[in-house]
Amino acid sequence: MSEDIVLKTEDLTKHYGGVHALEGADFEMRKGEHVAIMGDNGAGKSTFVRQITGVEQRTRGKVWLYGDEVQFDGPLDAREAGIETVFQTLALADDLDVPDNLFLGREKTYADWLGPFRLLDYKAMRQATIDGLNRTAVKIPNIRNTIRNMSGGQRQCVAIARTATFHSKLTIMDEPTAALGVQETAQVENIIRTLKDEGEPLILISHNMRQVLDLVDRIVVFRRGRIVANLKKEETDGQDIVAYITGAKTGEEYMEHAL
Amino acid sequence: QEIGATFSRFDDNWLTVLRNGMVEYAESIDGLVYQQEDASDDLAKQIDQVKNFVASGVDAIIVNIVDTSAGAAVSAAAGNVPLVYVNREPDNVNELPPTQAFVASNEIESGTLSAFEVCKNLRAAGKGSGARGYLMNGQLSNQAAVQRSKDVHDVIGMDMCNFMEIIDEQTANWSRDEAQDLMTNWMSSGEPFDFVLANNDEMAIGAIQAMKAAGMDMADVQVGGVDASQDALLVMAAGDYDVTVFQDSVGQGTGSIDAALKLIAGEKVDSKVYIPFVLVTPENMDDFLDKN
């Protein structure tokens, strides 16, 4: 397989008991590409992400990352392999403050010979946090407040800042701007553009048509657990995409599976 | 033959000596299968254990009863399977059916013997005009503890010993380390005292350890307990411990197994066998060194 292909899945499938949340997904993306995933609520978008990032174990199917077949035991593995993810559920520790959350699992430390008891470099993390948050334009009165006491959008910005602070081989964002205000949304879109300029590949899940058409190269549509379309941005428009989402149309290559 | 035995608790020092003696004795008897269970001070569990023995079809049951006032319920649970009470006297001792018997000591003796000896020692030390001291209770819900403490109060109620005054009494739950802390707490108030009476040896030893740690001279204080455990006798040998009381574990253990075997064979047995307590002081302690 070409080294050019960042991520490839074949027949990726996930069943929850009787619920077929994801069914035979074949997906491919190339270096530097930004791909959007769209689809109804419950279409299986987040499920797709959870299979790739090892949060859950898939029912069947294969996943390749940069040409190597991978089967992550957990999100830790996925991160170590270079996948940075903003999950839809955000995955923040409610009782910790913003810097703690931002650096959770990869703290800045010194005296590393102490192993698990190595010391935290609070000051460096605090400064890096403020820098990271400023990129998202979010206003947080006191970053030492616990996440529990943050507004919905503030939480989302923390999760995004976490992903944007670290370089990665593949970034996945599951509805990153859902809870964001006008300004913050614009900033996050800027972050995404920066990634594009730096050639970092990205999967963006979003319900926002304008955003998707603004930002990505290609749009993959999910419907009832299946991929039903794979559209180049230049060859499609909002109405066309909605037709696929609602099931009014189905991509030719996907016809055989159509319900 | 099969005998099942249930004990009120396994982690009690004296009962362990009794138990181990019984295991040894049972092994020495050909064809006897002996099994023992821990009721962990739970009366209902003990009744159920008796029923479990019955369900398993044992030939006789030995019970070290958790609560002496539950004799009726335990006796009923055994049905017509032979049953022997050991060590503790059930309240229905006078109404036992012919298939049941009991082998034990009379708990009233133990606390009385110990307290009375301390009383005499205090008089001999010239404190007959007034002596103050502390009383350490065993577990408050335990009848031996309640009885032994009552014995102490009864002794002090006698004319001869009414010069003794209890400053305070508290529980140390039979345990040495709790007794250490309790004694240290008492001493921190700075009140002078002349004696310490404890419901068992472990607490007495704990009290002695605490007093020695505080630099007290053990000759000035009379300490009395119950059990005559080996630890206690060694402390007594060192001159720190004054009075304890011996309870014959071997006599009770072998006596109860013998009684059970006789009941199985359908022979007649005495329905009540009392095995007396014996006072132990530095003078006669050598006789008891390897007994418990």
């Binding site: 069943h15 929850y16 008991g17 009787g18 619920v19 077929h20 009832r224 | 099942g4 004990f7 396994f10 299968v33 099994q35 023992q36 269970e37 821990d38 962990s40 001070d41 739970d42 009366l43 209902a44 569990k45 009744i47 159920d48 254990q49 029923k51 479990n52 023995f53 019955v54 369900a55 398993s56 079809g57 958790v66 609560d67 002496t68 006032s69 539950a70 009726a72 319920a73 309240d91 109404e95 577990q139 408050l140 819900s141 335990n142 009848q143 503890a145 309640v146």
Partner: protein, 357 residues
């Protein structure tokens, strides 16, 4: 159709793969344990062809060892009654540690109004009150005992719901208080010799009758009434329950009261069964009641679990205890094996639950 496939937006789902209820896992564990005991009885040399469940000595009319079947349930019935209430508390994401001492305190209190004046023609040696409290109708001690339980439960519930004390600590405090009450009531002395009618409450298989009847009642309540639904809702997400307009605090007080009334009733049955009440009764009952619920598949973080599960959990403990005596396991090994089996039962449950998903 829509009603049976339970989907919206034109979706259906594959019902054949519907997950089986958790309770089956624990039933499976129960059967495995029984088979193990049977096997040991069959093959261990020292056991001499005995059978755990079957009547090999022709002592009974049926093919089963009826004495064994009875004692298996009987010995867990009383703790089982407590566990029914503890289950409800745990479903609200709470915990009740006070039930063991409450059993003791209630036993003492109820028994002192259930004493009989003459024992074998002699005055009752354990009489706590004067003759006015002797030979009262059985309803008196029962009502007094249950009222006491309700009171303790109301206090527990108030601490937890209104003063927001963590349930663990509120009921740990009450644990100490109830032990204190039990000791103080008669100064550590046992209270004995109940009237015949009181003694009947816990005689023979009566504890099992109570246990089964109460289990059925509460299984129905938890499944089919508003009380049950709100109990699950509170445990699942208390904040959401509050925002949905459930009176969470009042409901919690009710749950703790029910749990304590059941524990108090267990105390009455226990003292009746033993014909005596003693301050040390019920030690560790709270832990075993919780263990029954957890073996039965409850989640200590709330929102999940069932009364049926708890009943099965109780059966597991009953079988284990009986089985240990049956295979003549020594006391110290019994403790170790009991610990191991409790853990193993839950492992099995976890394993099956995970494989299902």
């Amino acid at each position: 159709m829509a009603d049976t496939s339970h989907g919206t937006g034109g979706l259906t789902f594959d019902k054949s793969k519907r997950s089986w209820p958790n309770e089956l896992n624990i039933l499976l564990a129960l059967i495995i344990i029984i088979v193990i005991f049977e096997a040991i009885g069959q093959f261990a040399p020292y056991m001499r062809d005995q059978s755990f469940l079957f009547d090999t000595k022709d002592r009974f009319d049926s093919i089963f060892n009826e004495a064994r079947l009875q004692i298996i349930v009987l010995q867990v019935a009383i703790i089982g009654i407590i566990a029914l209430g503890v289950t409800q508390v745990i479903i609200t994401a709470g915990i009740d540690l006070s039930s063991g001492p409450l059993v003791a305190a209630t036993a003492m209190i109820a028994m002192s109004f259930a004493q009989t004046e003459l024992v074998n023609g002699q005055p009752n040696p354990k009489a706590l009150f004067g003759t006015w409290a002797m030979d009262l109708p059985v309803i008196v001690p029962v009502v007094i005992g249950l009222t006491f339980g309700a009171m303790i439960g109301a206090i527990n519930g108030t601490f937890v719901a209104y003063l927001r004390i963590p349930p663990f600590i509120a009921t740990l405090g009450m644990f100490l208080i109830c032990r204190g009450i039990a000791l103080w009531w008669s100064g550590g002395n046992p209270v004995s010799f109940p009237t015949d009618s009181y003694a009947f409450l816990g005689s023979g298989m009566m504890p099992v009758v109570w246990f089964v009847a109460l289990a059925i009642v509460f299984q129905l309540i938890m499944s089919f009434t508003v009380y049950g639904k709100h109990t699950y809702a509170i445990g699942s997400n208390e904040e959401a329950a509050r925002m949905s307009g459930i009176n969470v605090r009042r409901h919690k007080v009710m749950v703790y009261m029910i749990a304590s009334i059941l524990a108090a009733f267990a105390g009455i049955v226990l003292s009746s069964k033993a014909s005596t009440a003693q301050a040390g009764m019920g030690e560790f009952y709270e832990l075993f009641a919780i263990a029954m619920a957890v073996i039965g598949g409850i989640s200590l973080t709330g929102g999940r679990g069932s009364i049926i599960g708890t009943v099965l959990g109780a059966m597991v403990l009953g079988v284990i205890r009986s089985g240990f005596t049956y295979i003549k396991l020594d006391g110290s090994y019994q403790l170790m094996a009991m610990g191991a089996i409790i853990i193993a039962a839950v492992i099995l449950d976890q394993y099956r639950q995970r494989n299902r998903a």
